[in-house]
Amino acid sequence: MSDDVAIRATGLTKRFGALAAVDGVDLTVRRREVYGFLGPNGSGKSTTIRMLCGLLRPTAGEIDVLGYRIPRDAEALKRRIGYMTQRFTLYEDLTVGENLDFLAAVHELPRAAARTRIAELLERFRLADRHGQLAGTLSGGQKQRLALAGTVLHKPDLLFLDEPTSAVDPQSRREFWESLFELADTGTTLLVSTHYMDEAERCTRLAILDRGRMVADGTPRDLMTNLPGRTLLVETREPREAQRLLAGTPGIIAVAQIGNSLRVLATEGADFDRRVIEHLRAAGIEAHVQPIAANLEDVFVVATTAPAERPHAAA
């Protein structure tokens, strides 16, 4: 494994009984990357993250994280990673300071260093005035900042964040992502799962998971530019009628109404705009059709549509 790679997994599989929660995932995360896992609920994001941390034993596959073989070296790895979940897992009946003191002791930080580090983190995450407050009485955003402070207390090289922003408001989400980029700047590698498109778009690299399989992998920009001419904007006076007509047409994956226009996603790009115009005209609907740039949602829809539903699927 080269020094440049933080996580490498091959053929990663986890079965719960007959269900394959994660099915043959190959994954490479480079150092200092903010690597995103995008996928619907039940797509295997959490299970994959838990296997990479050594919290779950894979049914099959090889895992190498920061040079440790997982699950064999999981205990050694735990000193160098941070793991944060959507749920607030610190103690609600301890104060902010007590929670961080406890975690500092758990990670065996020397006492003096721990004091300095905790003061620094409280300052950075704007919790300095909350030091003596019970964690359970914090707001959602504050709880989440506290959780992140607890996760990075021991300066881990690698952070696993499992849907960290699911429980907070948009403002807190933006701030949280600023914190993540600050961490990446200081050399930390981050693996973040999310089901928000805007968050996924901010990652330096992205994997889309669907039903336990990795269905796309690349930088958000590459993923979006790989769909040339396949996204069409259809402007018409009868959007509802046009949507009904187009929805059942072969070669069309999805039709979504955006205001008074339609956003149409096709299985292939070449010449498709003309075919749409003709198809609508045959039904007596006049429409103006133009290709537009694909966004991440288009990428997501294309990637997560089952092969059976897209006969001419582009690789």
């Binding site: 779950l56 034993r57 735990k78 793991y83 979940t85 897992t89 301890l94 007590e98 406890f102 065996e108």
Partner: protein, 363 residues
Amino acid sequence: MQLRRLGSIIVKELRQLRRDRLTFAMIIGIPTMQLVLFGYAINLDVRHLTAAVVDQAQTARSRELIADLAATDVVRLGHVFQSPQQVDEALRAGEISAALVIPPDFETRLERRDRPAAQIIVDGSEQVIQAAARQLAAFPVYADVGWTARTNGIEVVNFYNPQRRAAVNTVPGLVGVILTMTMVLFTAIALVRERERGNLEMLIATPVSPWELTLGKVLPFVGIGLLQVTIVLLLGDVLFDVPLRGSLLELYAAALVFIVASLSLGVFLSTLANSQFQAMQMAFFTFLPQILLSGFMFPYAGMPVPAQYVAEILPLTHFLRLIRGIMLRGATLGELWPSLAALGVFIAIVLGIAVSRVHKSLD
């Protein structure tokens, strides 16, 4: 195992405990309440039973007998009937619990001493009153002509004063019962709570080992258990004058071993339960047989043999033998070693199973 980490878990646990007012109140409240309840209320000493008198003799001596019986306080002679039939009816109706029937030939019977001079009829449907019946039957009606004069109040009071004896038997047993109740329940709940609230998912991603976590959470309860022992012993001494004939140090040593046994059971239950509620149900499931079969409620010797086998498995059975031996008979741990060994075996087996089940992963 790392001492600072262990210490930080203990500190955390104590802080949480301090803020959990209900648990804190239970730690102090359960021993106090149970001691007072069992010490005062559960008592075979019977007083002021409603009783009737049928005096068919109507002599000076029969009236003296009635006056003496009334002086015992055991019965309160509230009714005067003319015939034994009325006694039957009143007993059946529950109006009286006992009756003194003095036959017309009372004087003759006293002289000849071939038949009981008088009769005390007791409601046998209630266990407690039945016990009182045995005491009343021993009332010296049969004695010499002069007996009434010699029967003074003190003699009767002594005779009917099992109160002191009951508390002496109950309080040592209560130490065991209270520890069984609180230790198993508290540990099982404390460990499951960590899992239920999601804290465990955070902890298993840290270098904390399952041993450190379990030990750190359980150790504070050892201190709490010893505190409870102290409360019960102090109250037992102050309120009921329960003696301590053996060594106090050995008593605490026995209690410590029993606390560890109960905590082991709690840790084991926590590995089976998925929620705090389940943990609580399981704790009560183990609590009941201990109360019923350990010899706390019913004498061990009076139980059928299969029940005795079950009782031998229960830690409370052995602890009761230890604490009764030390407190009441002044025995030493050396003399009581089989019970101590039994507790040791229990700890080894139960804790062994429990630790093998405490995984530090999510599957």
